[in-house]
């Protein structure tokens, strides 16, 4: 067999650890023990690894090193940003977001709304794009917080964060803007300062770093309240012993992903075209959910009424890993809030699956996945929704 038996096309949920990242972890632990907060040689050796990683992340994303706060992932980073901004802006400061956001943003907004912050959620257009959040800016209100993701986790739709940032900076300079860049970093060029955002969250395992390693970029001069209290690590913004091992792996994986950006885009676009062409050639009816101009490695499809959970299960039996909606909700049969807010029909939403490609996806993997996908769709075809 030329293709691997198990096929993994769920990279938006979690991608393959890059060899460079695992190597960086091994190198970090081979340096021996040491707490980066300790002043002796062993502590300094770990601190050097940590600060090198911070410098690398900063330079790859157009930030200053002191703007990088390492976290355990994007969930923590999104919480740190949004709870921090809301606290800084004041008890009843307004919040503006969109239902296309990831749960770790949406749930925070809902909690803040329960605590008294007026919340406006602006629906996306049918392609999943939120063209303008400024329409929701209250006139004459206290400054508040706007949040807009860089790219969507279910459809790959790209959001106009830079445009929004520039506009806010000129018309509402006291407002704070957060972007969840989890699905965009390592996939498209991201320049923190030119986005005019105050915070940006990212997660290493979406582009070949380890799970458990993420970061929040925090604009200089816009301090945030920490989520936890304790030591003075990371200027008190994220107390707790820092893992130089995880930071180093995140940084080196990011560096590789950024170096491969254009080539990855080209590969992913070609794979996407192959998938769509092959489906057409085999007369398999499908609909694409979301903008055709989004991230090419995320493809959200509905197969004429075949229930997504059944399709995902049937493909799993064929050793193909794909997802129905984002991983956090994949265990549930609740319709995706992203697709619902796009105004899609219930049938189309309940039959939507996400195929997401990764840095190690090859033409052979895509070809074999298509053979199995078409076989399974044909077998389930015409079943309709129960």
């Amino acid at each position: 067999m030329k293709y691997p038996t198990a096929i993994y096309l769920d990279h938006a949920a979690s991608s393959t650890l890059r060899e460079s990242a695992s190597k960086a972890m091994v190198e970090a632990w081979q340096k021996g023990p040491g707490n980066p907060a300790s002043t002796h040689h062993a502590g300094r050796a770990q601190r050097r690894i940590l600060e090198d990683a911070r410098d690398k992340v900063a330079s790859l994303l157009g930030a200053f090193p002191d703007e990088v706060v390492f976290t355990s992932g994007a969930t923590e980073a999104n919480n740190l940003a949004l709870l921090g901004h809301a606290a800084a802006a004041g008890p009843n400061s307004p919040l503006i977001g969109s239902p296309v956001e990831h749960k770790s943003v949406l749930q925070v907004l809902c909690e803040l709304a329960k605590a008294g912050h007026p919340l406006t959620l602006v629906s996306p257009n049918p392609e999943g794009i939120v063209p303008d959040l400024t329409c929701a800016l209250p006139t004459g209100a206290n400054p508040g917080t706007v949040t807009l993701q860089l790219a969507n986790q279910e459809t790959g739709a790209l959001q106009p964060v830079g445009k929004l940032g520039k506009q806010l900076a000129s018309t509402h300079p006291a407002w704070r803007l957060h972007t969840d860049a989890t699905q965009a970093v390592g996939k498209i060029r991201v320049d923190f300062h030119s986005l005019f955002v105050h915070t940006l969250s990212l997660s290493g395992h979406k582009w070949g770093g380890p799970i458990g390693a993420g970061a929040l970029l925090v604009r200089r001069g816009w301090p945030l309240r920490a989520l936890c209290h304790g030591g003075e690590q990371q200027d008190g913004r994220r107390p707790g012993t820092e893992s130089s091992m995880l930071a180093a792996a995140l940084a080196v994986a990011l560096s590789e992903a950024v170096a491969d950006l254009d080539a990855f885009q080209t590969r992913a676009s070609a794979f996407r075209q192959t998938i769509l062409n092959t489906l057409k050639q085999n007369a398999v009816p499908y609909e694409i959910n979301g903008s055709p101009e989004g991230l090419p490695h995320i493809l959200n499809l509905s197969f004429g009424g075949i229930r997504a959970d059944l399709l995902v299960m049937a493909l799993d039996l064929e050793q193909v890993a794909i997802s129905a909606g984002s991983a956090c909700t994949s265990g549930s049969i609740l319709p995706s809030s992203v697709l619902t807010s796009m105004g899609l029909s219930k049938d189309r939403i309940l039959s939507s699956i996400r195929i997401s490609l990764g840095h190690d996806t090859t033409p052979e993997i895509v070809d074999e996945a298509l053979v199995r996908l078409i076989r399974v769709v044909r077998r389930l075809g015409g079943g309709g929704l129960s």
Copy 2:
């Protein structure tokens, strides 16, 4: 040379990663990509690793698997516990603790006090032990939260948590008891249920697991508010993608530490005796800070007025890594709050250093460390405090 050039005796700050732990990480990433929240085979493979780790941690510490919440470390675990208990007990619920606690407990207590919770801090006896916190229980007040560490991070003093737990359970069953067991787990036998605590925090890197891996044990029936909002991971108590790699490494390191408990205690006691005897034989005057009956692998000493920061630096030049106070404060020259609360003189506090032994400490390491320590103390001797 029979001894290693660089000598590490700061294991209470962070210990050497065990080979079994690094092997577990390699095994986890060799399983391939997968988000443990995904329902397909790749996700399930990671979930299996994660749940095996949870089962192992639970059985090693006398807890149920659903009582184990993996976190990024003890700082997060302590915050989750104390902020959660205070929220559950109500806005003005009382708090009782002690100044011997780690910063990640003390700072949380102070933040809660600022938010209106009445806080009582009970000082330890001169040996660093807090014999009775129940004296601070207000009569007739709303139920609140008591926190008492299992072992002290600077002196190794063991606190009577089990006794306190039993007493609270019988006289104040509505009160909540948290214990920070960071320095005790993997060093002494810890049985969650028989301590009668509601939460217990731990950190993998204190006994050979990786930095970035910790856990909070949460008693069944005593739900806690999560620190972050997002996905439903770990029953919503700790949203965010779970790292099976870190959990597996933490679990296997704990399993090895627990299997080696008695042997480690014996080795550490012998090393401690060697250190004290050798100092005596070489007529190096010292004082022991804290209970002589605490954890044998933590030795807190003052050398007649030699400033700790100078001693730590001079030893660092001799390639010996030890600490002045706990790592989080080692960069500062503020006197330790632990030793201050024990009523020690300022001279003794400012000259106190911590030597902490680890699972890979050998007689050769201790002997060579002593040669260098005695040389440095003699060189600095009689300097007095400036």
